[in-house]
């Protein structure tokens, strides 16, 4: 390697990123104004929409952090994507900040926060030692402290690696091993706290796995989109090879199958058991218009991407793969929409808090466009800010020479 390689200056992010950054910020501010109006005039819908949009970007950041840790453990050719993963995971402090509206909206989102509901419900009383406001907040604090701690430490050690300190290589691997365990546990409990407890009677032991599969799929799709953008510009145009996209495409295919496998397993087990606490979750989602959303997900989060991603040629052509990944990100949002929205009436009220009416008919609210714009815009602004701060390749990575061989060795 030349001396120039060692300072990483020629690996700086392309100028276009500044344009994207300001556009993302504008979109975020416009969305935020919409959300502000929603907060004033339609508070119930605001909290629900914000939660859905928030879960999507949180999934990208956490999934990227998990993939980064897997990369540190496995090594190999996909080290060329390390800086994209790192930039995504460094957005976690902003995500902790964006969690505040959810804390503010707890009373709207979660029926178990109301003493009078708990008093009238034997199951909620039984779950009260876990589902109560102080413990909910403490858990959220633990999740974010752990996630941010891992992301921050990995980012710091990665910088030390850039500066030539090779003693961090081994430590990064140890941190990645322990960090993955924490990530999986925290993501499982966060899924239970923030999504599953919207319907506090329902439970599913597969829910954590569904969360993790969703995170992986979101993070891979996002990384493919960003890397395709980078691969058309200096300095990455000569570094990212079809074989690198091939790897991400293969991983996307695996996560599409994983997502389908977990969701189907959950569906089949609930269907087979037919228990009073479990089956309403699916009955809600296969009636009153929601069944078309569910069917849409089966077709467009499994069948179509599965068949498309089987193709070797498609996975090796970034300009085509990017469209599959864009579509997958959109479908991920619809998936989260279906996880949350059917538990609310079209008035925005949590069904588990209204007496009498227990049916939700399909609806979409204008805040379901404003919230993703706000959350997504602000998050992308943070992401591009972070991406521009470091050289785009972790050039001191000991596995990188192999990764950058002509065919992108394996």
């Amino acid at each position: 390697m030349t001396a120039q390689t060692h300072d990483g200056a020629h690996l700086a992010a392309p100028r276009d990123i500044d344009g994207l950054r300001s556009r993302a910020l504008i979109a975020g501010v416009v969305g935020l104004v919409g959300c502000g109006l929603g907060f004033v005039f339609d508070r119930d819908h605001f909290f629900r929409s914000w939660l859905i949009a928030y879960l999507l970007v949180l999934g990208i950041a956490l999934g990227s952090m998990a993939l980064l840790m897997i990369q540190h453990l496995s090594g190999g050719a996909w080290g060329v994507f390390r800086r994209v993963f790192e930039a995504s995971s460094r957005t976690l402090p902003l995500l902790a900040l964006m969690f505040l509206p959810i804390v503010l909206g707890m009373g709207t989102l979660y029926s178990w926060t109301h003493a009078e509901h708990v008093a009238a419900d034997a199951i909620l009383q039984h779950k009260a030692p876990y589902l109560n406001v102080p413990f909910f907040l403490i858990r959220a604090l633990i999740y974010f402290a752990g996630w941010i701690g891992i992301a921050w430490t990995m980012s710091r050690w990665s910088r030390r690696q850039d500066e030539g300190d090779m003693s961090v290589n081994k430590r990064l691997q140890y941190l990645a091993g322990g960090g993955l365990v924490f990530y999986a546990l925290a993501s499982t409990f966060a899924g239970i706290d923030w999504i599953m407890s919207i319907n506090p009677h329902w439970f599913s032991t597969l829910f954590g796995f569904i969360m993790v599969a969703g995170h992986g799929l979101s993070a891979l799709s996002f990384t493919i989109v960003v890397s395709t953008f980078l691969s058309r510009r200096a300095p990455m145009e000569n570094i990212l090879k079809p074989s690198h996209f091939h790897d991400l495409g293969k991983l996307s295919l695996a996560f599409v199958m994983l997502w389908a496998y977990f969701n189907f397993s959950q569906y089949m087990l609930v269907y087979a058991a037919n228990l009073a606490e479990e089956i309403p979750y699916f009955i809600t989602r296969i009636s009153h218009g929601w069944q078309y959303v569910a069917l849409f997900l089966v077709v467009f989060q499994f069948i179509v991407p599965f068949l498309l991603l089987l193709s070797r040629d498609l996975k090796r052509m970034p300009h085509r793969l990017i469209w599959v990944s864009f579509a997958l990100l959109a479908v991920r949002y619809i998936d989260l929409f279906l996880l949350v929205s059917p538990e609310f009436a079209s008035t925005g009220a949590n069904l588990h808090m209204v007496t009498g009416a227990h049916e939700s008919h399909f609806y979409v609210h204008w805040l379901d466009l404003a919230a993703p714009l706000a959350v997504g815009g602000l998050w992308l602004w943070m992401f591009f800010t972070q991406l521009a701060q470091r050289p785009l390749v972790a050039f001191a990575d000991p596995y990188l020479r192999e990764a950058m061989e002509s065919t992108g060795g394996h």
Partner: protein, 182 residues
């Protein structure tokens, strides 16, 4: 047919190389020189070799996909026939055609069909089993499964000429060039 009367017939000419890089370079040059009927032998898989030899992509993935589709369809049809037509049984009041219950078996038979198609297809496309192959007539070839790399230009190639091809191969800096008896 008596062998003594046919001294001229050859399977081809084979060059021996010490490194995978030399083999890939030789294959590329042979292709540039216009040779098409050739094969390379290596103790390790070399990803670049397919391209250097100009091999067309294998049809195996299509066979595997077909095997999977056939296996899955047959698995589902078997369950539908047995549980909804031939021997309908009321289990917990569910419909006879309870498709979610059929999926695990359908999945398994899909994998079975795909795996069988892959196994059988792999043998068939490689024309295996092949008890005799001329390249083993060259004594040096024993090291093809050890530490040496071979390129064989076959006599069926229209450009093949015993003298000139041997000269061409010698120009690629091999360890040696051997004639391969048929």
């Amino acid at each position: 047919m008596s062998h003594a009367e046919l001294p001229a017939a050859l399977h081809g000419l084979m060059a021996e190389f010490e490194t995978p890089t030399a083999l890939v370079r030789a294959a590329e040059q042979a292709r540039l020189a216009g040779y098409r009927e050739m094969d390379a032998y290596s103790p390790i898989p070399i990803e670049e070799l397919n391209e250097a030899l100009g091999l067309r992509r294998t049809r195996l993935p299509k066979l595997v996909f077909l095997g999977g589709v056939i296996g899955g369809t047959a698995g589902y049809a078997l369950q539908y026939w047995s549980q909804a037509m031939a021997y309908p049984m009321n289990i917990g009041g569910r419909p006879y055609h309870s498709w979610p219950h059929f999926i695990p078996v359908t999945f398994e038979t899909t994998v079975l069909g795909a795996a069988l198609a892959c196994f059988v297809g792999m043998w068939a496309l490689n024309k295996l089993p092949q008890p005799y192959h001329p390249v083993f007539n060259v004594p040096e070839f024993a090291r093809a499964s050890l530490d040496r790399f071979f390129l064989c230009i076959e006599s069926t190639d229209p450009k093949f000429d015993r003298e000139e091809t041997a000269r061409f191969l010698a120009g690629l800096h091999p360890v040696g060039v051997s004639e391969v008896a048929p």
